[in-house]
Symmetry: C2
Subunit: 202 residues, 2 copies
Amino acid sequence: MQLSPAIQELIQALKVLPGVGPKSAQRMAFQLLERQREGAQRLAQALTQAVEKVGHCNDCRTLTESPQCVICAHPARQQSGMLCIVETPADVLAIEQTGQYQGRYFVLMGHLSPLDGIGPEDIGLDVLAQRLSSEAIQEIILATNPTVEGEATAHYIAELARQAHIKTSRIAHGVPVGGELEYVDQATLGHAFSGRKIIEAN
Amino acid sequence: MQLSPAIQELIQALKVLPGVGPKSAQRMAFQLLERQREGAQRLAQALTQAVEKVGHCNDCRTLTESPQCVICAHPARQQSGMLCIVETPADVLAIEQTGQYQGRYFVLMGHLSPLDGIGPEDIGLDVLAQRLSSEAIQEIILATNPTVEGEATAHYIAELARQAHIKTSRIAHGVPVGGELEYVDQATLGHAFSGRKIIEAN
Ligand SMILES: [Zn+2]
Ligand SMILES: [Zn+2]
């Protein structure tokens, strides 16, 4: 049976969402058209606006609609001398929710992955190296995911920091190995911060 | 921490989707903005188009963007004399996928629910009564859900059909094919027993 082209296209388009397969896309399409037409219009508007307005922070690369994000623009954060390196904007949110960290961030928007052709410049490490040499940074906290790629990325950045003579720490492995930062509970993430270890220059 | 207003609004708007809570809305928003901007634009477009174009079939009430849906417009279906009553467009799809039915449908877009103020006219039963008296319908198949409301709705329509002197049947309910008795709920098992069929000695 052929559904109307507009319904078919909506079902196809909904499958772009993470975790949404053909069956739930169909369920979503029908529910929106049967009962949530205003919600569907609002969603269309929000998607258009977000895609149009949201770019990356010039300083930390996180998603934001101003040239500099709220955290980077915060004077106390700027004076903290702390720079926490994370993989994604969701990681920033997760760390902010612990309330344990008052410094700035650098958001890689990914991790090193030579097999996928993702090298240092693809995750902004050239920008980071620049910042390390030009700013007064006292400590770098490496909060990449405890995965193979996250560890390799942390290692690479630790070396950049060593060359710039900046103290570097790695968040403690209270975070379950193989897990993703975004899904860790606040208490564990808080422990991981307070238990961070200085990485000795060797 | 404050996310950019456009990102916050996108997260809010995504929560209109069935089964999407705050956490998965956030994950969806970040993924769209980080990696799926074209997909997000396509989705916005599809939502706008679908809301604008998709209405209800004049004959069967299902979702369609033409005045009459493909099934209602099909000559062989029109001549079948069969009318299957279902609650939703998704039910039509499910029945079509069996390939076992070649008649037409009437889609209630809900079921009777006096407590929620949903009466006969809200589910198109006035339109249905009109069709029963003006069209050559040989059999009505009641395929509403086997829930309290679905059964009450089926009962109400059976009475309409009786007044119009039209043969009426209810789809069989029982143990799903391939299912194990042990895992079937009591109500289904009850239906399976009360609806049992005599096996003729041959
Ligand atoms: Zn920033
Ligand atoms: Zn129709």
